[in-house]
């Protein structure tokens, strides 16, 4: 019974293989006989239903048939391969196209900086984009009617409070999260706030009403200007390489005292002067300073016990510099020809 089945298989196999013309036929044949549900496999599986003696005998037969047939397949394969070699092939043809997507370039750079600051023990936090006048200005020592409000053209929300004033706005700076972070996490504190900000201005290649900042604060006992400079210098080295230098000069921001402006030596020309740095050799990328005691107080922190520094980068500017993007409007363009490059 079993024996005749095996012979039938052999006959079928030899007949089929004589008709094989190419690799595909061969692989179909191989599948037919040797796959899990293939003809020979089924026989081998049914062996278990036989008594011990027949099982041994048939097992031997079936296995030797399997070896024979496999050898034939191998030989046929070799022959076919040889024939194939004579065909002219073009291995330089393009590979199968893999469809990929991309992260937004701002996301990419934001992550790199977040990871860098995480390595220094800075947590990354977020704040509201629709903010109160209090956290965006007043708590940061920018009182109503302070001329410093001119420095930022604010988008106000069309909703007035009981006093008849606009008190809701789109945050003009990530600094809005400073006092929130102090109240929530207390001192000592190390945090960065990457996020988007808004200013009411018309857009062109260099200006956007929606832009991205990255704020950092560190509060502890006896934080000083030398500490601030060191953290920023390390940041510059991380961003632009180990030879990067930091240069600072005074700049007025109401929420820091003293307030500084920071520049890194230009990574393209190494400070010699080029188009990117407008021939100055320096890239103006950040504002910083020691946190004003009024701001610490607003955050519930005792300025006699603690001091701190704060700094802010234009995150989108860093991205533009890194990738050589000349027009800030690309970031919100949704243009795939832009997005696919990162």
């Amino acid at each position: 019974m079993m024996k005749s089945k095996l012979e039938q298989i052999k006959k079928d196999f030899l007949e089929s293989i004589s008709k094989v013309k190419n690799q595909k036929d061969l692989s179909n044949l191989e599948h037919k006989f040797f796959s899990r549900k293939g003809e020979l496999s089924m026989i081998l599986r049914n062996l278990k239903d036989l008594d011990l003696k027949s099982r041994q005998e048939m097992g031997k037969l079936a296995n030797s048939l399997k070896t024979d047939l496999k050898n034939i397949i191998k030989k046929t394969k070799d022959i076919l391969n040889k024939e194939n070699m004579d065909d002219i092939v073009d291995p330089t043809l393009p590979g199968e196209k893999l469809i990929t997507g991309n992260l937004h370039p701002i996301t990419i750079v934001k992550r790199e900086i977040e990871d860098f600051f995480a390595s220094l023990g800075f947590m990354s936090i977020d704040g509201p984009e629709l903010e109160s006048d209090y956290y965006n200005f007043t708590a940061l020592n920018v009182l109503a009617h302070h001329p410093a409000r001119d420095m930022q053209d604010t988008f106000y929300i069309d909703s007035k409070n009981k006093e008849g004033q606009y008190d809701l706005l789109m945050r003009t700076q990530t600094s809005n999260a400073q006092v929130r972070a102090m109240l929530k996490h207390k001192a000592p504190l190390r945090a960065i706030v990457p996020g988007r900000c808004f200013r009411c201005e018309s857009t062109d290649a260099r200006h956007e009403h929606t832009f991205y900042q990255l704020e950092g604060i560190m509060i502890d006992e006896n934080i000083n200007i030398a500490h601030l400079k060191a953290i920023l210098e390390e940041t510059g080295k991380f961003l632009y390489g180990p030879d990067t230098k930091l240069r600072t000069r005074p700049k007025y921001f109401p929420f820091v005292e003293p307030g500084l402006n920071g520049e890194f030596s230009c990574f393209l020309c190494q400070g010699k002067g080029c188009r990117v740095c407008k021939n100055s050799g320096w890239l103006e990328v950040l504002g910083c300073g020691l946190i004003h005691p009024h701001v610490l107080k607003a955050g519930g922190i005792d300025p006699d016990k603690y001091s701190g520094f704060a700094f802010g980068f234009g995150l989108d500017r860093l991205v533009m510099l890194k990738y050589g993007i000349k027009d800030i409007r690309f970031f919100h363009s949704g243009d795939i020809n832009f997005l696919k490059q990162f």
């Binding site: 469809i99 997507g101 991309n102 992260l103 937004h104 701002i106 996301t107 977040e114 023990g121 977020d126 509201p128 984009e129 629709l130 109160s132 209090y134 956290y135 009617h145 001329p147 001119d150 420095m151 988008f155 929300i157 909703s159 606009y166 809701l168 929130r180 000592p188 988007r196 808004f198 009411c200 018309s202 857009t203 009403h209 929606t210 006896n222 200007i225 030398a226 500490h227 060191a230 920023l232 210098e233 600072t248 000069r249 005074p250 700049k251 007025y252 109401p254 005292e257 003293p258 307030g259 500084l260 020691l290 004003h292 919100h332 363009s333 949704g334 243009d335 795939i336 020809n337 997005l339």
Partner: protein, 805 residues
């Protein structure tokens, strides 16, 4: 603000070997931002003195003249429209390449068939005055071919200072303030301002009185009548000083008061004094109006401070004078005002009137009231020089409404100073920094007692941190060596939000091959209306920068659809995602000001848009299923059910909720055809929106993925197709099969058939159903039994029939 190098040098001795660039760099490093260095001479490039040889009429234009000029090098022909051009005059000739003060670039042109090789300039075209009556006629002795800057001795160099860097320093809005800074930086001598003041004699007489009604808004008011003056053109030296600081010369009186403002930072005003009796400073009455010197009628409010005489408004205090009271060429008598006004009042008025002037820009920064008498004295010194015949009537009125000569002090410890600097510097060095800035110092061991000069005490120096800044900036931030802080180690808290956001973005961009899109938080109202969205409950911007972005978004969908529209002509298949906030008119979690009410809700959403695929809806479902399993584990049972609240813009047949247990995470919808047509959206588009914070809540609480041991016993797979009513959703049938028996471990739909072989209201759903036990190998018989019960159950509950293949 323009700062003249020549004028600085009058107050402070700048070492000769210091270049202009070096001065700018020192100011940058220690005080203010110098944006640009302007060489005045370059503004007069290609503008030269020329002599008029012949004046003829233009053959084809009645009003134009053909002028032949000698430039010293050559003879040129120029077409000119001025009436006052005459032979033998010396004139200012702008040759090709010159750029006039109004920005006009001179080129060789042809006017009615005749070539013109340049332009003969009027005073205003050169920025030298206001006159446009005719061309400017130069001195007969002027040298042909000489550059006009040389002719006028305009050899100054200008530092353009960024006004923003001065917004806290009212004392730096004049040259003397910056000269003081330079003196401190260079450790050079600063000439006292009193050196520039001479006393003038005055005639005793009974004159006008000054009355201040709102004393707190006008800390100081000086006024002085000068008679017998002659209003005329300023001498060249005064014009040059005015021009260097960026002003146009007007007449000797106005120019002199502008000049004193440029020097000292104190705005001064002069009224025509012929008609003025008494002066009263008060808040305007509601509805009062005044025509200002720019010839505009201004309606005032009760918050605007005005200077009045009898019933006439002479000026909006600290902002602009009235046209009626302006000094004119016939004025015989003038009144000089040197006053101090409340900064906030001036700022508010200037904003509400939309009127910013040189005076208001200074007053709103807070000016030292003790500067007012100094500036008055300086102006009369100059006037005496300009109009020697002028008579000063009685003593100047001087109303003082603040505590004069008040001593403001700050005490600090040197040790504190060094701790904040991060560097120890010599005590004498500290003193030598502060003294030239006007601070008086007193040292007592570790303690430093400082008396703040009046010009700094007004506003910007109040606390010891302000002194830290003075020391640090003059010492030089670049002289403080960086040093990393030594702090206690503290592990970072696990940041679930950040982690989840990254995981979502990675999955969608990498595994699902979507592009991450960033869109504005604002949305176009016109687009929302086309989509049928009710815009009345959207937050609205009070001052939008563009009419296309007036509302805050409540969904990421509209802007993502715009991204599809932007790309649809270039790409056939598109898929984007975005994570961002949306804004609702209900209270959210963030507090507003420690007060009871909270800020509006501003949730984060994850949104996907898929367009142009054969079945974008099905692709969206597949992606969401894979995403949620990737984030929360393979054992998550996601339920898609027919959307409960349909959008106005979605196809109601293709709208489903995404549910996880009892939580509704979001929705998947196809954009309705009519809406797509209105938006000009060409591709079939599906939108997914997921609530990030709900996802985050689940993510935070999942116990994490546990490895599941695969059953050692084989699974038996049966294929069954059920014919059911079309109205029964796959979802229901699937759940019924899956939940029927615990041994049913997998239910996998492999075919949907709707067609000729079935009645119209029926469909066939075919499933692979896997049976498996973790305890034993199931026999065919056991599986058959369950299957029979299942078929019966489905027949009873769904009228489902087994399909014959």
């Amino acid at each position: 603000m323009y700062i003249s190098n020549n004028l600085l040098k009058e107050f402070v001795k700048i070492p000769k070997n210091l270049s202009t660039d070096e001065i700018a760099s020192l100011l940058n490093l220690h005080t203010v931002e110098v944006e640009k260095i302007i060489y005045l001479k370059e503004q007069f490039k290609n503008i030269i003195v020329a002599e008029v040889l012949e004046v003829n009429n233009h053959p084809k234009a009645d009003r134009l003249k053909l002028v032949k000029l000698n430039t010293g090098d050559e003879v040129l022909e120029v077409i000119c429209g001025a009436d006052n051009v005459e032979e033998k005059q010396k004139v200012a000739l702008a040759l090709a390449g010159a750029i006039l003060s109004n920005g006009l670039e001179i080129k060789e042109t042809e006017i009615r068939g005749i070539k013109s090789n340049g332009m003969i300039c009027a005073e205003d075209e050169l920025g030298l005055g206001e006159d446009h009556e005719g061309i400017i006629v130069l001195d007969k002795k002027a040298k042909k071919g000489q550059n006009l800057a040389d002719y006028f001795k305009l050899d100054d160099i200008i530092f353009e200072i960024d006004n923003k860097s001065l917004s806290h320093r009212g004392d730096l809005w004049g040259h003397y303030g910056l000269a003081r800074e330079l003196a401190a930086i260079l450790k050079a001598q600063l000439k006292p301002y009193s050196n520039f003041i001479q006393t003038v004699n005055y005639k005793e007489a009974n004159d006008f009185k000054v009355k201040i009604i709102n004393k707190d808004l006008c800390p100081r008011y000086l006024a002085w009548r000068v008679e017998n003056i002659k209003v005329e053109e300023s001498p060249q030296w005064l014009k040059n000083k005015i021009i260097a600081a960026g002003y146009r010369p007007i007449n000797n009186i106005v120019d002199a008061s502008n000049y004193v403002m440029i020097e000292s930072g104190q705005p001064l005003h002069t009224f025509c004094g012929d008609k003025i009796k008494n002066i009263e400073v008060r808040l305007a009455k509601k509805g009062e109006s005044v025509k200002t010197i720019d010839e505009k009628d201004r309606v005032l409010s009760e918050n605007d401070l005005v200077i009045t005489s009898e019933k006439q408004i002479l000026a909006i205090a600290g902002i602009m004078g009235s046209l009626d009271s302006a000094v004119n060429l016939d004025s015989q008598s003038i009144i000089i005002e040197s006053a101090n006004f409340d900064a906030v009042t001036i700022r508010k008025s200037s904003q509400s009137l939309g009127l910013r002037t040189e005076a208001s820009a200074r007053f709103e920064k807070s000016i030292d009231p003790e500067l007012a008498p100094l500036a008055m004295k300086r102006l009369v010194t100059i006037l005496k020089d300009l109009c020697p015949q002028a008579e000063f009537i009685s003593k100047p009125s001087d109303v003082i409404n603040y505590q004069e000569n008040k001593i403001n002090q700050i005490e600090l410890e040197f040790s504190w100073l060094y701790k904040r600097l991060g560097k120890e510097i010599d005590k004498n060095e500290v003193v030598s920094i502060l003294e030239p800035l006007g601070f008086k110092t007193e040292i007592n061991n570790d303690t430093l007692l400082l008396t703040i000069p009046s010009w700094r005490a007004v506003k910007d120096v109040k606390i010891k941190e302000d002194i830290l800044e003075e020391v640090a900036r003059i010492y030089g931030y670049n002289n403080i060596e960086p040093s990393l802080p030594e702090v206690k180690l503290k592990p970072l808290l696990d940041n679930h939000e950040l982690k989840l956001e990254r995981k979502i973005k990675d999955f969608l961009s990498k595994s699902a091959a979507f592009f991450e899109d960033y869109n504005y938080a604002f949305v176009d109202e016109k687009q929302l209306l086309k989509m049928g969205v009710d815009t009345s409950l959207h937050w609205r911007l009070a001052n939008p920068s563009s009419q296309n972005y007036t509302l805050l978004r409540q969904s990421l969908a509209p802007n993502l659809i715009s991204s599809i529209i932007f790309n649809q002509h270039k790409f056939k298949k598109l898929s984007f995602f975005e994570i961002g906030r949306v804004f609702f008119p209900v209270e959210g979690d963030y507090d507003k000001e420690g007060r009871k009410d909270n800020l509006p809700l501003q949730e984060k959403k994850v949104s996907l848009v898929i367009a142009g695929y054969e079945n974008s809806f099905s692709k969206a479902k597949g992606v969401i299923e894979a995403l949620i399993k990737n984030l929360l584990g393979n054992n998550q049972e996601i339920e898609f059910s027919i959307l409960e609240n349909n959008h106005q813009w979605s196809d109601s047949n293709w709208s489903i909720d995404i549910k996880l247990g009892s939580e509704n995470l979001g929705y998947i919808v196809k954009v309705k055809k009519e809406v797509a047509d209105k938006l000009n959206l060409k591709l079939q588009t599906t939108i997914v929106e997921i609530n990030f914070s709900k996802l985050l809540d689940i993510y935070k609480n999942i116990s994490g993925i546990k490895y599941q041991q695969e059953s050692r016993f084989p699974a038996l797979e049966r294929d069954l197709a059920f014919v059911i009513d079309k109205k029964v959703s796959y979802n229901k049938l699937y759940k019924a099969i899956k939940d029927f028996n615990p041994l049913i471990v997998e239910v996998d739909l492999f075919d949907v058939y709707l067609g000729d072989k079935l009645e119209k209201h029926l469909k066939s759903l075919a499933f692979h159903i896997s049976y498996q036990s973790s305890e034993k190998t199931l026999s065919s018989q056991e599986v058959d039994n369950i299957q029979n019960d299942l078929v019966k159950f489905l027949k009873d509950n769904f009228s489902a029939k087994l399909r014959d293949f």
